[in-house]
């Protein structure tokens, strides 16, 4: 009889001991699109977070404790982020939240973090409304008024384009915002938008021939497609098969290895703005690229270093705050100045956004070519 009981009791004791050990960890919650139509965003930014966490923990952690990441997959779907973040805060007792890349999904989770007074750091949501939700919401990337301007400027100065067409993903806050800022700059600087069409992204629309046929008739010199990579790849293919030869332009939503896989040679020679180029010779960047390749056996895209920087800045803020208390960590985050991140020097401004420069890359199926850096 005795032996029957000893094993479960011993097991229970081990479980209790382990869980009390784990309670020492600082829990950081992360929600990311690990699956679904923007899966590479979530997977790669998550890889970046993981790499940063490992480095922080190997160097002794923060406040003498290790950081533990709890990741929730939001499946690239609306409705999932709020459920994920509620769970992370209520049940995992996360002291801070990292996420998301897609602005629509960050916008969904942000009010929950704000309400709970848990700081949220978005690695890559560029729509300005994200941090406007409240003073607990931060980001480590530039915002769309800047990014839209960069591409409009690029179209005018580098491509000498006077007439452009725009194809917007209307289901996507990021795409709608980028369209607005691109148009503002382009039309006030001598350009003309000759055709504007829209589609529903996130795997809903796969046929864009109707919109592209209408765009072709307007004879633009470039087409701005501020969507995500899956659609951009398909749009490029269909545009070329309809005989449209002008370059397509995009934003950081294109930054994924899948872009060239789906778009093939059709998307070669098109341009997009993003946060980082792995070809940048800055030692900080090269060091990151080597570490990333060693761990994940893949080339990092723009989302990976953003995840890395988000985690690093958060660890830095917890260190400065000297506590995991949400309000104190928030205050420390707001004070960050000239942090030397992989994606450039990060200064959190009064609107809790990072002011940073953008790079323009030219799509090339082997490895995207670096074209220009545009400072804010």
């Amino acid at each position: 009889m005795k032996s029957i009981f000893t094993i479960p009791i011993a097991a229970a004791a081990v479980v209790i001991a382990l869980s009390s050990l784990r309670a020492q960890d600082i829990v950081v919650g992360e929600f990311a699109s690990l699956t679904g139509s923007e899966a590479t965003f979530g997977i790669n930014s998550s890889n970046g977070v993981e790499l940063a966490k490992e480095e922080v923990n190997n160097a002794g952690g923060v406040l003498g404790r290790k950081i533990r990441i709890v990741v929730e997959d939001d499946q690239s779907k609306p409705g999932q982020p709020s459920a994920a973040v509620k769970k992370l805060i209520a049940s995992d007792k996360a002291v801070a939240i990292i996420g998301e890349i897609a602005s629509s999904r960050s916008l969904e989770a942000a009010p929950i973090c704000q309400e709970a007074k848990i700081p949220m750091v978005s690695p890559g949501s560029t729509n300005p409304r994200v941090t406007e939700v409240g003073d607990y919401i931060f980001r480590v990337c530039f915002i769309d008024p800047f990014q839209g301007t960069v591409m409009a400027k690029f179209a005018i100065d580098n491509l000498k384009a006077k007439k452009v067409a725009i194809l917007t993903d209307v289901r996507n806050d990021y795409s709608v915002g980028l369209t607005k800022y691109f148009k503002e700059y382009f039309t006030t600087h001598g350009g003309q938008v000759v055709s504007e069409r829209s589609f529903s992204g996130g795997g809903t629309d796969r046929d864009f021939r109707a919109q592209l046929t209408a765009i072709k008739a307007a004879q633009p010199e470039a087409i701005f497609v501020p969507g995500y990579y899956t659609e951009a790849g398909l749009i490029a293919k269909q545009a070329r098969s309809l005989g449209i030869k002008v370059p397509l332009l995009g934003g950081d939503g294109w930054d994924s290895p899948k872009l060239s896989e789906i778009g093939g040679s059709a998307i070669d020679g098109c341009y997009f703005s993003t946060h980082f180029s792995p070809k940048d010779q800055n030692p900080k960047v090269q060091d990151f690229v080597h570490k990333y390749q060693a761990k994940f056996n893949a080339m990092p895209d723009g989302m990976a270093p953003l995840g890395y920087d988000a985690m690093m800045i958060l660890a830095d803020a917890i260190k400065t705050a000297g506590t995991t208390d949400g309000t104190k960590v928030r205050d420390a985050l707001a004070q960050i100045k000239n942090y030397d991140g992989v994606t450039g020097k990060i200064t959190i401004n009064e609107k809790r956004n990072a002011t940073k420069s953008a790079v323009v890359l030219k799509v090339n199926s082997k490895q995207n070519d670096y074209v220009a850096t545009v400072a804010p």
Partner: protein, 304 residues
């Protein structure tokens, strides 16, 4: 809109509609025989795409140069066989045990099967979108002037017409087709006449699923980004196309698909591209208000 643009949009619409038509044929056949909507049909379409994804790099290298069409045919036919088997298995395991139950039970089971295939697919194939390999080079045809028609657009349309004719032939002229019609008309009477209902229903599912498999391949050549949830929307659209044409009616499904494709394309090409699906579906509701049984459907009088 210029004449060229109008004709180009018409071509775009018909070729998009051809895909809806291909999927709709499967819906309509199962409905015709069993009076039940197989919601898992769109997911069999997805399995067809993935079968093509895995078979192409394993089959095509063995058929270089001029032999490539043989390789393409092998990929297409084996995919159709795989999907036929999947369709029969689904029917055998999920629907047959419920045949005597109310139709609603089977309908809900079909939704369950659909979710099982979608999320099982996420588990097995991985959830991220994959680039479909280049089975056929999708290039524009020559000598079409200002219009562009690509090889896959022509292929999709041709395959749809071919399968439509084959299906009509099978249903109208063969013994099995006659049995299908008999089961559709009155299953009990058909049994009394010596028709093996199980065989007929299995065959119907095999045929419908093989069509979905073929559609999956053609669709993926045209839109080379595939994921386990890709069947959802084309499935719904094809279902609407089948209803529009008159569910249970084979030419109706084809016509319904093409009408839907053309309407969608013209809306998407206009300034109202945001409301593409809203306008397309509003139009369908309009058509169904005036012809409740669809374009080709016969209005049925319930006998008391």
């Amino acid at each position: 809109m210029t004449r060229v643009e109008f004709l180009q949009q018409l071509i775009n619409g018909v070729s998009l509609g051809a895909f809806y038509a291909l999927i709709a044929l499967g819906y309509t056949m199962v409905y015709g025989v069993l009076r039940f909507i197989n919601f898992a049909h769109g997911d069999v379409f997805m399995l067809g795409a993935f079968s093509g994804y895995y078979l192409t790099p394993r089959v095509l290298p063995h058929f270089p140069g001029a032999f490539a069409p043989i390789g393409v045919a092998i990929v297409l036919l084996s995919t159709m066989c795989i999907c036929a088997v999947v369709g029969m298995t689904i029917e055998r395991l999920a629907y047959r045990p419920l045949r005597k139950r109310p139709k609603l039970t089977v309908l809900i089971t079909a939704i369950g099967v659909s979710l099982f295939l979608e999320y099982g697919g996420q588990f097995v194939f991985g959830p991220d979108p994959k680039a479909f390999p280049e089975l056929v080079v999708d290039r524009p045809l020559e000598h079409t002037g200002a219009l562009t028609i690509t090889t896959t657009q022509v292929a999709a349309f041709a395959v749809t017409i071919l399968l439509l004719i084959t299906l009509t032939f099978i249903v109208k002229r063969t013994r099995l087709g006659r049995a299908m019609r008999a089961v559709s008309n009155n299953a009990t009477a058909a049994t009394l006449m010596g028709v093996n209902i199980d065989t007929v229903i299995s065959f119907t599912f095999a045929l419908g699923s093989a069509l979905a498999g073929a559609a999956g391949i053609l669709y993926s050549i045209s839109y080379p980004s595939i994921d386990p949830l890709m069947g959802l929307l084309p499935g719904v659209k094809a279902f609407v196309a089948a209803v529009l044409g008159g569910i249970g009616n084979i030419p109706g499904a084809a016509v319904g698909g093409i009408v839907l494709g053309v309407v969608e394309t013209f809306v998407a090409g206009s300034r109202f591209s945001t409301y593409r699906d809203a306008i397309a579906f509003a139009l369908l509701i309009g058509i169904l208000l005036f012809r409740p049984s669809g374009i080709f459907g016969r209005s049925q009088v319930e006998k008391v």
